[in-house]
Symmetry: C2
Subunit: 716 residues, 2 copies
C-alpha cells in the first residue's frame, strides 16, 4: 500500500516538522535578484576595518561557569567554524534579573530546555503512542452506546432490538473510516490529517473547513472530557461538587503543564490508565459473555418502557448519529504521524490498526452484552455502571471499573493536547494561522498552540459551568465534517493517482465519506437547536478568518520579495518602492533642554557626519527665548529650529514638522535621534511620561523616518 511516488510527492512538499520556520532553499530567480541587488551596492565612504573581533576571541574552548554561576557574556558562545558561533544554553537567559528569575521558575516547572538536536528523541514508541493517542477514542466507548440506546428507547423498549443492526452499521463505519485512514497514512506520511488531505485534493476552502471542524472538536474534547471526568469525581465525593469549575480549570492547567514539559513525558503519564481501562472493559466482556454462555446466550428481556415517540426514520438516524460519538478521536493518529519513531508512517499505520480493532471489540462487545443482559438507559446511572453491577455483583471489580472510566475520561483530553498544536503548526506553515504557532518552545513542544488550546477549552468549560450534558450537543459535528471531507478527498486522490487496486480503495473511501456525511447531516439537523448551531456558525467564520490571515501573509510576502512576483491580479495592489540606490540623510535631534542626555544625543548625531538639525518645542515664546540663550551659551554648533506650540502638545507638532520636512524633500531619509533615560527600577517608570515611546509611535507611520534611540543609563 502506498506507492513510492506518493512518498516523494509528500517529501517534495516538505511537510516535515522542524524546530522553526525554515529558510526556503534559494531558487534561481531569487539568486539572480540577489545578485542584481548586490551589484548596485555602494561601498561606504569610509569602510574602516572592523574595530572588534566578531568571534569574541573564542578558539573553540567550551564556556566555563563563573563564580556565581553566571557566565560572562563572552563565555556564552563557542566557535563552531569560521564566522559561526554557537550559543550555549545560558545565552538564552534574559538579561534582566526579573526575567532570569521567571525563566528559572519556568524551567523548574517544565524542565531544562531541549536543544533542537534532540527533536528525534522526543518521538513515541508504538506502545506509548497507543495509549497517548487512543484515550480519546476508547473513552468514547464509555458514553457512545448509551447515547445510541437513549434515543432508541424513546420509541419504547421494543425498539431497543434495533441496537444490534445499528451497532453493526457503526462497526462498518468504524472499519471503513479506519481503513480509509490506514490508506491515507502512507499516502501522506508526514502528517495525514484531514486538513492536509482535504486541502490537497478538494481545494483550500474544504481543507480549512475540515481544520476548523477539527479545531472546534479538539477544544470540545478537552472541555467535555474534563467535565465528564470531574463529574465522575464529584459523584464519588459529592462534597466537591461546588468546586466543579475550579477543579476542571485545575485539571486543564495540569494537562497544559504536563504537555509543556514535552511529548514523551506526557505520554508516560498516560500509559497505565488507558491500558487499565481497556483491561477492565475486556474483563467485563469476558465475564459477561461467559455468564451469557451459561444460559445459552438467551437474551434477558428488558423491562417494559412506554414509547414516547413513534419509531420513524429520523429517530433511527438520530440514534445512529448519537452512537457515532464513539468514533470521535479516530483521526488522532493520522495527524500525529511525525510524532512516531521512524519509520513514522509504518508505525502510525500499525498503531491505528490496533486502535480500530480495540474500538470495534469494545464497542460491539458492549452493545451485544447490554442487549443480552436486557439493560435500559436510566437517568440516574450510566449503562456502563449498570453493566458493571450486573457483571460483578460483589468484590472490588465494580469500583475498579468506575475508577478507570473516570481516569480515562480525564486523560482523553490529552489527545487534543497532542493534535491541536500540530494542526495549528501545519496551518501556520501555509500561512493560515499566525506564525507564532510555528515556534517550538524550550521543551520542543508547540507551546503557543498548547496555551491557546488550554485557554479556549477553559473558557468554554467555565462558560458552560462544567456541565457535560450541555456541551455534548456541540460535540461530534466538527469531527464528522472533517471525516467527510478527508474521505471525499481520498476519493479524489485515488481518481488522480490510480495506483494498484484504486477502484477498491476509491469505493471504500466513497462508502466511508457517504456514511460520514449522513452522520454529519443527521447530527447537525437533529441537535441544531440544542447547540450544534454554534458549530454550524463557527466553522464558516473560522474559514473566513483563516483566509484573511493567509491573504495578509501573502501580501506581505509579495511586498518583501526580492524578485518581482507574477503581475498582481486586480485585487492585490502592492506598493513596490524600489530599493534605494543611495541613502541621503538629514539627522534631526529633538532637544527639550540641554542636559547630559540631550548632549549625548547631539554628540552621537554629530559623529554620524551627516547634515544635522536640532529642533526645540517650546510651549511659550518666553521659554523659546530662554532655550535659545542656553543654545548660544553652549556654542550654537548646530542649526536650531524652534517650534512654539501654543496648545502645549509636544508629540503632535514634532511629528507634523518631520512630516513637513519629509514632504518638501521626500528622497531624504530623516534620522530622528532621541535620548532615552533608562531607569533600572520599573517602579520609577510611572514617574516619567515616556515621551520617547510616544514619539516613536507617532513617527512609525511616516515613511522615510528612521528613529534612533540613544540610551542614557542612570545608576540608582
Amino acid at each position: 500500500m502506498g506507492a513510492a511516488g506518493e512518498h516523494d510527492d509528500a517529501a517534495e512538499r516538505g511537510t516535515v516538522v522542524t524546530p522553526s520556520a525554515e529558510l526556503p532553499p534559494l531558487g534561481a530567480e531569487e539568486r539572480a535578484a540577489l545578485g542584481r541587488i548586490g551589484e548596485r551596492w555602494r561601498e561606504p565612504r569610509d569602510p574602516d576595518e572592523l574595530p572588534v573581533d566578531p568571534t569574541l576571541g573564542r578558539s573553540g574552548r567550551p564556556p566555563r561557569p563563573t563564580r556565581f554561576g553566571r557566565l560572562v557574556p563572552i563565555e556564552m558562545f563557542t566557535v563552531e567554524e569560521p564566522g559561526e558561533l554557537v550559543a550555549t544554553e545560558p545565552a538564552h537567559l534574559p538579561g534582566s534579573r526579573t526575567g532570569r528569575l521567571l525563566t528559572r521558575a519556568r524551567r523548574t516547572l517544565f524542565g531544562p530546555p531541549l536543544s533542537s538536536a534532540s527533536v528525534l528523541y522526543e518521538r513515541m514508541r508504538k506502545l506509548v503512542a497507543l495509549p497517548v493517542l487512543s484515550s480519546d477514542l476508547l473513552s468514547s466507548v464509555a458514553y457512545g452506546p448509551e447515547a445510541m440506546l437513549a434515543v432508541l428507547v424513546l420509541a419504547g423498549s421494543a425498539a431497543l432490538g434495533l441496537s444490534l443492526p445499528l451497532a453493526a452499521l457503526l462497526v462498518v463505519l468504524m472499519v471503513a473510516v479506519g481503513l480509509s485512514y490506514r490508506q491515507t497514512i502512507p499516502a501522506y506520511p508526514h502528517g495525514a490529517g484531514s486538513y492536509i488531505v482535504a486541502g490537497d485534493n478538494l481545494g483550500r476552502t474544504p481543507g480549512l473547513a475540515a481544520a476548523a471542524g477539527l479545531m472546534l472538536d479538539y477544544v470540545l474534547t478537552v472541555s467535555v472530557s474534563v467535565a465528564a471526568g470531574v463529574h465522575a469525581v464529584t459523584s464519588a465525593l459529592p462534597g466537591l461538587t461546588p468546586l466543579t469549575v475550579p477543579l476542571g480549570v485545575l485539571v486543564i492547567a495540569v494537562l497544559l503543564a504536563g504537555n509543556l514539559r514535552g511529548v514523551r513525558t506526557a505520554g508516560n503519564l498516560f500509559v497505565l490508565p488507558t491500558y487499565a481501562f481497556v483491561v477492565a472493559i475486556l474483563v467485563v466482556l469476558v465475564v459477561g459473555y461467559a455468564r451469557a454462555a451459561g444460559r445459552g446466550f438467551a437474551p434477558v428481556s428488558p423491562p417494559p418502557v412506554p414509547a414516547a415517540e413513534g419509531l420513524g426514520l429520523l429517530l433511527v438516524l438520530r440514534a445512529f448519529s448519537s452512537g457515532a460519538v464513539s468514533m470521535t478521536g479516530i483521526e488522532a493518529v493520522s495527524n500525529a504521524v511525525p510524532a512516531f519513531r521512524p519509520t513514522e508512517w509504518r508505525n502510525a499505520r500499525t498503531t491505528l490498526g490496533w486502535m480500530v480493532v480495540m474500538l470495534v471489540t469494545l464497542f460491539a462487545g458492549l452493545v451485544g452484552l447490554i442487549h443480552l443482559d436486557g439493560l435500559v438507559p436510566r437517568p440516574g446511572e450510566t449503562l456502563l455502571s449498570q453493566l458493571g453491577r450486573v457483571t460483578f455483583p460483589t468484590g472490588p471489580w465494580y469500583a475498579i471499573l468506575q475508577a478507570t472510566t473516570a481516569l480515562i475520561l480525564l486523560l482523553a483530553a490529552n489527545t487534543a493536547f497532542n493534535d491541536f498544536p500540530r494542526l495549528l503548526f501545519f496551518m501556520a506553515r501555509d500561512g493560515h494561522t499566525p506564525r507564532r504557532f510555528l515556534h517550538m518552545g524550550d521543551r520542543l513542544a508547540f507551546s503557543n498552540g498548547l496555551v491557546a488550546l488550554s485557554l479556549t477549552a477553559a473558557v468554554v468549560f467555565v462558560a458552560f459551568g462544567g456541565h457535560t450534558e450541555r456541551l455534548i450537543p456541540l460535540y461530534a459535528v466538527g469531527v464528522f465534517l472533517a471525516f467527510t471531507l478527508s474521505q471525499a478527498g481520498m476519493v479524489v486522490h485515488w481518481r488522480r493517482h490510480r495506483g494498484p487496486g484504486w477502484h477498491r480503495r476509491l469505493a471504500l473511501n466513497a462508502v466511508g465519506a457517504t456514511l460520514s456525511a449522513l452522520v454529519l447531516l443527521t447530527a447537525a439537523v437533529a441537535k441544531f437547536s440544542e447547540g450544534a448551531w454554534v458549530v454550524v456558525v463557527a466553522v464558516p467564520l473560522l474559514v473566513l478568518l483563516f483566509r484573511r490571515i493567509h491573504r495578509h501573509y501573502a501580501m506581505l510576502h509579495r511586498a518583501l520579495a526580492l524578485h518581482p512576483p507574477a503581475p498582481p491580479g486586480p485585487a492585490g495592489s502592492v506598493e513596490r518602492e524600489e530599493l534605494p540606490q543611495e541613502v541621503r540623510h538629514l539627522v534631526v535631534v529633538p532637544v527639550a533642554r540641554l542636559n547630559r542626555a540631550s548632549l549625548r544625543a547631539l554628540a552621537y548625531a554629530a559623529s554620524l557626519g551627516q547634515p544635522t538639525l536640532a529642533v526645540h518645542i517650546a510651549p511659550e515664546e518666553v521659554e523659546a527665548d530662554r532655550f535659545r540663550e542656553q543654545w548660544q551659551a553652549w556654542g550654537d554648533h548646530l542649526r536650531l529650529e524652534t517650534i512654539v506650540s501654543p496648545y502645549r502638545a509636544v508629540i503632535g507638532p514634532l511629528a507634523h514638522y518631520l512630516e513637513a520636512l519629509h514632504t518638501t524633500r521626500p528622497e531624504l531619509t530623516l534620522t530622528v535621534i532621541v535620548p532615552e533615560v533608562v531607569l533600572r527600577s520599573r517602579w520609577h517608570r510611572p514617574l516619567h511620561s515616556r515621551v520617547e515611546q510616544r514619539l516613536r509611535a507617532a513617527l512609525r507611520a511616516l515613511p522615510g523616518v528612521v528613529v534612533t534611540t540613544v540610551p542614557v543609563h542612570v545608576a540608582e
Copy 2:
C-alpha cells in the same frame, strides 16, 4: 497686611502656575559648564549644508485649510521670527486616523483646545469664585450642627444646652482659622495652601503631611458629598435606590467632564445652586427668628431623651470635633489664589472674608434656632428637615429647602475638583508627585489631576457602596491635620518676619493652631476604630511615597546635570560618566533573511559610513549554511557572523552577543539597526511576533548600545 518683602519672597520661589514645566533661567554655573562642553565639540567630518529649508519655505502667511479640511503638514506652521515656527491648532491632531477620530470626539465633549495665551481669561471673578469655592464649606452646614447635637444627646436632652457654648467656641475657631488664612493669603499670594505654608515654615515633612491630609480629604469630600447627594435623591425617589452606586459614579463622571472643559465653564454651572442654598437657609433663619421674637425668644423645651452616657469631658470634646466638620472646605480659597483674576491675593482675601461671614451666620443662626425650637436629632429625619417643617408648615418652601440642600451637596464635590489638581501641581513642581501633574490639558485644566481624583473618589465610593455614614468617620481628620500644620507654620512665619503687629498675629495663629490640634486629636481618637485609622495609617505612607518620589527626581536631576553638583552625601552615589569626547562606532545589523526589509536596513547601515557587521541567528546548522549561501549570492559585501542557537531563541543570544562585543571593546558605541515592517492595520499586528520591540526591550539595559529602527512600510 502682607509686606512687599513677602511678595518678592514668593515671586522668587516662582510659584506661578504656568502652562507647563518651565525651563529654569540659566545660572552662571550652568552657563560656564555649557561653554566648557561646547568647546570640546568636534565638528562632524563632513558637515554638508542642510539639504532642506528648516522653515519649510514659510513666509509668515497663515495656513489655508485644504479641500478636505486636513492641512498639508507644511501648512500647519507659521513663521514667527527667524528660526522659529509656530504650530497651529491642526498640528496637534495625531497622525493616525483612529487618533484623529478620538481627538475629535474628545473636543466635541470638552470643547476646542485653548492656547496658552488664554490662560489669564480662564480666571474667576469673585462672584463666580464664591459659589465655586464655597459650596464645600457651606454645604457642611447641612450636617455639621446635627453631628454635634447627635453626640450631645447621648448624655440626655439636658446636655443639649451645651450646644450654645460649643457653637460659640466653634465660631471662635472658624473666625480664628478664617483670620489665619486671611493673613496667609497676602503672605503667599501665589498659592497659600497648607502644603506651601507648612512646608515653608516647618520643613518638608510637615508640608507633605499637610498635603497628604488634604489630598485624602479632597477625595473624601467628593465621595461623601456625592454619597449624601445621591442619598437625598434616592430618598425622594426610592425606586432609584438600587442604582445608588452607578448614579454616584455617573455624577463623578459628569463632574470630571465639566471640569475638564475648564474652570470658568465649570464655575458657571455652580453659581445658581450655591446662592439658592444660602438664600433658602437665610429665609429659614429670618422666618424662624421672627417667630421666636413673637414669643419673646423663649426657648421651647426639647422632648425628654434618656441619657445613654454620662456627660464627661470626652463626650464634650467628641461633640466639639463632630461639629467641626462644618469647617471642612474653609481652606479652598487659599489653595486657589492663582485662579482669581488679578490682583489675585486681594480678590481671594475678600472672597474668603465673605465665605467666613456666611459660614458663621448660617452655622450660628442654625444652632441658635434649633435650640430655640427645642429640636432633637432623630434617626429618621435630618435636623435641617425638621427645622424646615417647623418653619414652613405649609407651602412649597420646605421642598425648595430640601432640593437646594441635595443640590449643593452634589456640587460641594466640585470644590475638590478645583483644589486637588492644583495641590498636585504645586507638589509636582517640587518633585513630590509625578511630573505628569504639571501638564495642562487642551482646555488649560490639570487633566491628569482631575482624572486621578475622579478615579480615586469613584473607587472609594464604590468600595463603601455609596453609604454616607460609613464614609463620615474617615472625614475631617485629614483637613484638621492640614489646618494645624498650616497655622503652626504661620506662627513660625510671624516669629521670623516680625512685621507690624506680629505679636497679635502670632497669638491669633497660635490659638487657631491649638484649637485645630485639639479637634484633630479628638477626631482621630474618638473615631479611630470607626475608620479614622485608615487616615492615620495612610498619611505617613503617603509622606513616605512623596519623599521617595522626590529622591528619585533629585537623583535624576543630579545625574543629568551639566555642572558637577555638591559632593554627594554617603547616601547618593550617582554614576557620573564623562560625556564622550568622540563617538567610535560599530554598526551591527541583525538579519533573519534577505528580503526588501533587511536589504533596506543594510543599505541604511552602509550609508552611515561606519564599520559594519551583519549577524544572523540560525536555529540549526543547516539553516546557517543556507543563509550563508544567500549572502554569497548577494555579493558578501559585509562581514557576516552566524550564531547557531540550538535552543531556538533569537532575542537572548543576540542580546548576549552584543553584550559580549561591548565587553571586549567598551569604548565603542554599538548601533543596532533593525528593520521594522510597519503594518497599517492594527488588526494584523497579532499576526507578527514583534521581534523588533522585544529586541529593543532586551537591549535597553545595555549601556553603549544604540538601537535604530528603519521602518519598511507595506501598503495593504
